[in-house]
Structure formats: structure tokens, C-alpha cells
């Protein structure tokens, strides 16, 4: 309690005692062995102090002036703090379902120097439905969802897809006289991204994670024109593509909608014996975060 005490001390009758020189500067009067001390509670918070002793009577008046500030007593109980922190940790994080996030379209480039595999494109929705575990701050989330993808890998630069029978394909140089050759490997499937999402500033944020890819359907086709002008087309189905693979995915979203993504697919789509071996980098536009 901080109360400023202002002693106005009116010495009304014969101050005969001598104040000792060694007393503190704010000492008004030292009385040894007082005979009687009477404290009278006066009006307006004033106190009157009557002292008898030292061969003389003294009458002091003191005034307590509160500065208006009452201290606040704070109690910190550690186990209560621990309990509430645990509760916050336990109950602060929440699950939330969502739909249609991460619609993307971008370019896919082979990361291996495979002749004939060209930069192509891909599109999909990485999370058609999903759920996220939000941190208490709501700035960090772990998301899991299900979506689909479609990749069209073009083949060119003097090469095209040829069938080797029994669902196997390979890259073959264009034959003499083949004109307007267009060849590609197209794959479609489901994806299961597991992402750690972090909001940075406002709705802007980033996400990093892995995407399980289930390559449900893959086909290849080659179209060309013969020297006599005949248009030919061959389709190869029932291919031996890798059924399951894992991609790495990074998304940087500017605002809550538009963003940029980079995806790395280290698993090659085909084994050497069943098709062209290539892995992909892809990057493009991401919508919905």
C-alpha cells in the first residue's frame, strides 16, 4: 500500500527537547520514553497525536493523503496455469471440413534428360473435399483431402510413342515420311495431399506437404500423317504405369485465392521395361488455399 503521509506537525506547545543531530532529515521529533501517546482519529482523514513525555506535551497532527491508486494483488498459481494451458492446447485446436481447394493448372517439365519428352501441362483439383486441423492460433493447419489430377506429357523433338505389345510402350524416332507427328502420354488419377499450411501475413500463406498419387488410368497416343496424306492415329491402353507414387508440393498463396505452386514427382511413371522413364517438375497457378 502506497500512501503518502504528509506530516504537517504543528507543535503547539513548548518544544523544549532538542532534536538529535544524527536523526534522519525527515524526523520531526524524537521523544524518548513517552509517558502517554493518544491517537485521535479526526475528520477528513486527519489524525491527531498527543504525546506526553520528555518534560513537555506535544500535539502533532498528521494527514494521510491517499494517491487514489489502490494496488492490485495478483495471484499466480502454477498448476492452474498448466491446467489452462493444457486445456487450451487440447481444446484450442479444431477440425474443420472444407471443399474444393487447390484447383491448379501448370506446366510440367521432365527433370531427367530423356530425349523426346517435352514440357507439357497438367491440371487438377488437389482437394475436392478435405479436413484440416487448425492450431489454436488458426494460423497453422494440417490438411488432408482427396482430389484428382490429369497430366498430359507430350512427346516430340523427333520422337514418338510406339507400342511394344502387352501394354508396353517406348520412345521411337519418327520414321521417314511421318509428318505432323503428335504423341503424348496422358494419365489421370486421384491424389491425396497431406499439407502443413501456415498463414504468414493476413490471408497470405504457404503450404508444404506430400501428395499420394493413385494413377488409375494412363494411356498413350500417337498421331501422324503419312507421306500419301493419310492421317493415322494409334492409341495404347492397358499400360503398366506405376500405380502409386508420391509427389512433393509447395504452395505460396498471395491472398486467399491466387497462388503459385511447385510440384516435384520423383517417382518415374514407367519402369524401364514398360515405358519411358522420366520424372517431372511442374509449376503453375494455384487457386484456393
Amino acid at each position: 500500500m502506497r500512501i503518502k503521509a504528509i506530516i504537517t506537525a504543528l507543535v503547539l506547545t513548548g518544544i523544549s527537547g532538542s532534536a538529535a543531530a544524527e536523526n534522519a532529515a525527515d524526523t520531526i521529533k524524537m521523544i524518548d520514553c513517552p509517558g502517554a501517546v493518544t491517537v485521535i482519529h479526526g475528520s477528513n482523514g486527519k489524525l491527531q497525536l498527543k504525546v506526553k513525555g520528555d518534560g513537555a506535551d506535544y500535539d502533532f497532527m498528521a494527514e494521510n493523503i491517499a494517491d487514489g491508486h489502490e494496488p492490485v494483488i495478483d495471484i499466480d498459481v502454477p498448476f492452474i496455469r498448466e491446467t489452462s494451458e493444457r486445456r487450451r492446447r487440447r481444446y484450442g485446436a479444431t477440425w474443420r471440413a472444407f471443399s474444393v481447394r487447390g484447383a491448379y493448372v501448370g506446366a510440367s517439365m521432365p527433370s531427367d534428360a530423356v530425349r523426346g519428352i517435352r514440357t507439357s501441362w497438367e491440371w487438377g483439383i488437389s482437394q475436392i473435399v478435405g479436413a484440416e486441423l487448425l492450431s489454436p492460433s488458426r494460423r497453422t493447419a494440417l490438411t488432408i483431402g482427396v482430389g484428382f489430377f490429369h497430366r498430359m506429357q507430350k512427346v516430340g523433338s523427333g520422337y514418338h510413342i510406339e507400342g511394344a505389345g502387352d501394354g508396353r510402350i517406348f520412345l521411337a524416332p519418327d520414321g521417314e515420311g511421318m509428318r505432323s507427328v503428335s504423341s503424348s502420354v496422358s494419365s489421370f488419377g486421384l491424389q491425396l495431399p497431406v499439407m502443413l499450411k501456415q498463414r504468414l501475413v493476413g490471408p497470405t500463406g504457404m503450404a508444404i506437404g506430400v501428395v499420394g498419387m493413385w494413377n488409375t488410368y494412363t494411356r498413350a497416343s500417337t498421331k501422324w500423317t503419312d507421306p500419301d496424306g493419310t492421317s493415322c492415329r494409334r492409341k495404347y491402353k492397358g499400360l503398366h504405369q506405376r500405380a502409386f507414387s508420391v509427389d512433393g508440393l509447395f504452395i505460396l498463396n498471395f491472398g486467399s485465392e491466387i497462388g503459385w505452386y511447385v510440384r516435384y514427382s520423383p517417382f518415374r511413371m514407367f519402369h524401364r521395361s514398360t515405358g519411358p522413364e522420366y520424372s517431372l517438375w511442374s509449376t503453375g497457378l494455384n487457386i484456393g488455399f
Binding site: V72, D74, I75, P78, F79, T83
Partner: protein, 152 residues
């Protein structure tokens, strides 16, 4: 015969209840009584992590905006506990108890009992009251080292 058994059971239940009540301090009764006041925050912890601190039970009541009548009733209970306490640390302001740390007589099981009372100013001229009742084997010194009480 059946009615006698029922009567005996009722008397036993009453006696047990009275015996339990005898161990309760006035402050603990206030915690129970005002636990349903508007804005009241009651925390009751028994066992579990408390045992790490040598405590067996912790009850607290926080009334963020207490009326004068309620404050008088709680302060009266604290005063009654203060008179019955075996050790005390009390500070007053304007003739009212502002802070009290009371050590009460141990329970029948030999557990130490403590009461902490704090009356702080609230925003609208009213008072914010915190009343805590603690039981355990911890000594008053251990408890004072555990619970940080600061004035600012």
C-alpha cells in the same frame, strides 16, 4: 424392520455429511454458496497434478464484479476463518481486508488447510474477489513459495 434400516441409513448419511461439513471452513462454504453467481469462475482440482506440489485439493472462486452485500458476506466468512486460524498474514485497506493468507487447523486426516483471500478494485468501483481454499500436506512456506502473490 425395513423402516428402521432406512432411518438408520438416513441418520448415518446425516452424520457423515455433518462430519464432512465440520472440516469445511467458512471460506469454503462461501465458495460453494457463490459458485453460481453471475460471472463466477470456480476451479476445483483434486489429486492428479496437485500431488506433485504436496496438495490434495484446490478450490477457488473468482467473482469479477462483486456487490457490496456479497463482499460483506465473503469478508465476514474470511474474518471468521481469520479468528480461527493458527497463523495469518493479513493486510487491510480502509478498514477492510484486502489480502489474507490464513493457515487453518488441520483436517481430521492431518491435512493442512489454507485460505487465500484477495479483494481487488474492479472497473466500475466494485470489487473483484478471489477466494481460494487449499488442502494438502504442504506447509505454509511451501505454499507461499509455490503461489506467486504480487502487488502492483
Amino acid at each position: 424392520m425395513r423402516y428402521r434400516l432406512i432411518l438408520l441409513a438416513a441418520c448415518l448419511a446425516l452424520a457423515c455429511s455433518a462430519a464432512r461439513g465440520a472440516d469445511h471452513s467458512e471460506s469454503e462454504r462461501m465458495i460453494e454458496r457463490y459458485s453460481s453467481e453471475p460471472g463466477a469462475e470456480v476451479t476445483v482440482i483434486r489429486g492428479g497434478d496437485l500431488t506433485r506440489y504436496g496438495l490434495s485439493e484446490y478450490r477457488s472462486l473468482t467473482l469479477p464484479d462483486v456487490t457490496a452485500t456479497t463482499l460483506d458476506a465473503i469478508a465476514g466468512a474470511v474474518k471468521a476463518d481469520l479468528e480461527a486460524s493458527t497463523a495469518r498474514e493479513v493486510s487491510y485497506r480502509d478498514g477492510r481486508i484486502k489480502y489474507a493468507f490464513l493457515t487453518l487447523a488441520p483436517t481430521g486426516e492431518g491435512l493442512n488447510r489454507y485460505v487465500i483471500f484477495v479483494c481487488n478494485p474492479a472497473h466500475n468501483g466494485r470489487r473483484r474477489v478471489v477466494l481460494i481454499a487449499i488442502e494438502g500436506k504442504a506447509t505454509a512456506r511451501q505454499l507461499q513459495n509455490l503461489i506467486k502473490i504480487t502487488s502492483k
